[in-house]
Amino acid sequence: MAQIKKKKNSSTMVTLLWTLAFFLIWELIAFWVESSASIRSPEKVLPHFWKIVAVAFDGKTINGTDTAIQLVWLNAKVTLIRSAQGFVIGASIGFLLAILMSLSQIIKKIAFPYLMIIQMIPILGMAPILLSFTGDIDSSRIIIAAILTFYPVATNTLAGMEAVEKEKHELMYSYAANKWQLYTKTLIPASIPYFFTGLKVSAPLAITASILVDTLQGGIGLGCLLSQSLKGAMTRYVFWLIVVISAAIGILSYLLMGLLEDAISSHKKAERACKR
């Protein structure tokens, strides 16, 4: 048992080492870029990672009122809130649709091919047209985040409900359980791990969507700031800071879903504790 724990620790160590290696490679390339004679502005190609960090914690203001990290964080917060709104709406609709599809063959038959098609349609490419529909940049950001969230959640949850063994259905039937009990006691709890698989896929997508829609119109948000920094309105390091922060937010949103899943499924915790 101690061995298993040791093994788990060592795999965390390996991931950590890989992450370090990633940054090491980054720095090496940055050195090479810096020393290359043909590259005139190295900070546009690949700056040192530590320089990005340094800019983040630099006390100097860059637009008169805010320091770099204050400005990025201000915009990141707005982006996060918008994508969270879209994410929650999309996840709820996806979950409800999965239940409807499992309840009714007709709804399932109608919706399934269109769900397949939605997956193949480049929704992000449709961001501009949605903006022209709603006329309001804020609601189109939320809608796009919702559409991107909705599909993985709906299909994964439905797959979870359909993966429930025949015997569990027979068991419920032998207890003369009604539809409501079948869903609340068996199908919905059984689909929770699948539901979270969907959430893990769509959480970073919702953030991507929100940033992308930002770039279509000015205002506040990480994407807007990204466009501005690319146009040279402020130091190039702000752009890099945005790249790093948005990557970090995407990864964190994925990890957060995993933590949330662990928090609500007590049996996993108990089983892990037992294995240790």
Binding site: S10, S11, M13, V14, T15, L16, L17, W18, T19, F22, S36, S38, I39, K44, V45, L46, I106, K109, I110, A111, F112, P113, Y114, M116, I117, Q119, M120, I121, P122, I123, L124, G125, M126, P128, I129, L131, S132, F133, A203, P204, I207, T208, I211, L212, T215, L216, G223, L226, L230, F239, I242, V243, S246, A247, G250, I251, S253, Y254
Partner: protein
């Protein structure tokens, strides 16, 4: 014909008929202008299908040019991204102790927003070539490639490591070399996982291609055309490109499913 058989054929028939009815209803509502009323839009922002169709017909040459640019970026990026991803998976599966951690890191890249990658690649390629055509193509392809690497490496790693119990031991009893084990056991075992990865990365590659076009130096590609036409309020033309991008996604996906069904013909997969 008896009742049960009738039931069976109705079962399969209805899964075509129901969605078809739904599609026709939406189409008729769209063409008849009812959709515009429901969505509170004018015929300018949401033109009728017949008008979109006539625009596609009138601009075939231009649309084809842009379509070609997008398809090349998406497919070349998908191909190289998947190959690199598979290569990473092979190395990781060979040295599992270090490999699993590397795969975890690769999966983290899945969560990096594409929008952040596109400008980075644009800058990176500026110094590689003086040809705008080539370097903007390269930048876009690189983004698509990076997006596809993660999905393939994670799935292929599973395909190369989740083997049937004792199948590796069986190979050992034949004193098979590393390459033979790979050819006879690992490669065939990983094929279903490769298709799983492709089903995710194919739509992903098209989306990434469209999005990177927004940021690229050269004004070409379906995605860029959608955006340019919206900015200039040419909504009908934008819709024509949107329809084309949907068709592209659907056609490529169906092609992938066909290839998959041929390759997997003799396997029963759950």
């Amino acid at each position: 014909m008896n009742k049960k058989q009738k039931n069976m054929s109705w079962q399969s028939l209805s899964s075509i008929i129901y969605p078809a009815i739904f599609g026709i209803v939406v189409f008729v509502m769209w063409q008849g202008g009812l959709l515009n009323i429901l969505l509170h839009t004018d015929t300018n922002t949401l033109p009728s299908p017949s008008r979109i169709n006539s625009i596609i017909m009138d601009n075939q040459a231009k649309i084809f040019l842009n379509l070609k640019a997008t398809v090349i970026v998406a497919l070349v990026g998908l191909l190289f991204g998947s190959l690199i991803g598979y290569g990473i998976a092979i190395v990781a599966a060979q040295y599992r102790k270090w490999g699993a951690g590397g795969i975890t890191l690769a999966s983290a890249f899945n969560a990096v927003p594409i929008v952040a990658l596109a400008p980075v690649m644009n800058n990176l390629t500026k110094h590689i070539s003086s040809s705008v055509d080539f370097r903007s193509m390269l930048a876009k392809t690189l983004v698509v490639m990076i997006v596809c690497i993660a999905g393939m490496s994670v799935n292929a790693y599973r395909g190369l490591t989740e083997l049937k119990p004792f199948s590796e031991d069986l190979m050992k009893t034949y004193a098979a070399g590393n390459f033979t084990v790979f050819k006879k056991l690992l490669l065939p075992n990983s094929i279903p996982y490769v298709f799983t990865a492709l089903r995710i990365s194919l739509p992903g590659s098209i989306i990434s291609a469209l999005v990177t076009e927004y940021f690229s130096e050269k004004v070409i590609g379906i995605g860029r055309q959608i955006r340019e036409n919206i900015v200039t309020a040419q909504f009908a033309t934008a819709w024509a490109y949107i329809i084309i991008s949907c068709l592209l996604g659907i056609v490529l996906y169906v092609l992938l499913l066909l290839v998959e069904s041929v390759v997997m013909k003799n396997r029963n997969r759950k």
